[in-house]
């Protein structure tokens, strides 16, 4: 019995939406800044609307849940390196980090049962946004 040719998609086929090109460094920096400030904005900028909208909803929601669970936004101190790293991860969440500070949220309640879980949500929301920024960078360079 003859096997139909090319029943599986070609893995190495170049994505026609993303021809490899070199964007200007300035626009690349702006793109990454937008992706940092507003999670999903970078994908929206590049025309990946559904991805952008999902990230725009999911990451701030995760950050908000972390705050609701009495998580803490860590201060920048290198006296305790892990606290400093957690602060950097918090900062990666973008503008919501500053909004939370503006409204006095993120003080944390160490006596709350969910304190550590809240911290985990806040830190991981920032780290995921960092991953999203790297993805935007790759997409902008035509690697994806």
């Amino acid at each position: 019995m003859p096997v139909p040719a090319a029943t599986t998609p070609q893995r190495n086929q170049r994505n026609p939406r993303n021809p490899r090109h070199q964007p200007e460094p300035g626009s690349l920096v702006l793109l990454c800044l937008a992706a940092w400030a507003i999670p999903g904005a970078g994908h929206l900028w590049l025309g990946r609307r559904s991805k952008g909208v999902i990230l725009l909803i999911a990451l701030p929601l995760m950050f908000g849940i972390g705050l609701m669970l009495h998580g803490r936004l860590f201060p920048f101190t290198m006296a305790e390196p892990l606290v400093g790293l957690a602060a950097v991860a918090n900062l990666c969440s973008g503008l919501v980090y500053f909004l939370a500070g503006l409204f006095g949220a993120g003080a944390g309640n160490v006596r709350a049962v969910t304190y550590e879980i809240g911290n985990t949500f806040l830190i991981v929301a920032g780290l995921l946004n960092l991953l999203v920024i790297l993805d935007v960078y790759d997409v902008a360079l035509g690697r994806k």
Binding site: N15, S50, K51, I54, L55, A58, L59, L61, M62, I65, L69, V113, T114, I117, T120, F121, V124, A125, L128, L131, V132, D135
Partner: protein, 57 residues
């Protein structure tokens, strides 16, 4: 919400959602990959939980 397990599933949901959105382009592939990552997260947590069960705090 104070259920540790519910919060674990919620956390795993968000992480797998972002992983799936980043790693795959096709919606069907995103759904499949996201479900796989979510299942792996929850299964790993349950297995690790039981492995830690004999150890006192």
């Amino acid at each position: 919400m104070h259920s540790q397990f519910a919060l674990l599933v919620l956390f795993a949901f968000f992480v797998s959602l972002v992983f799936a959105v980043i790693a795959r382009d096709d919606p069907k592939a995103q759904l499949r990959f996201g479900a796989l990552v979510l299942g792996a997260f929850v299964a790993a947590a349950i297995v690790l939980g039981w492995l830690m069960y004999p150890f006192p705090l």
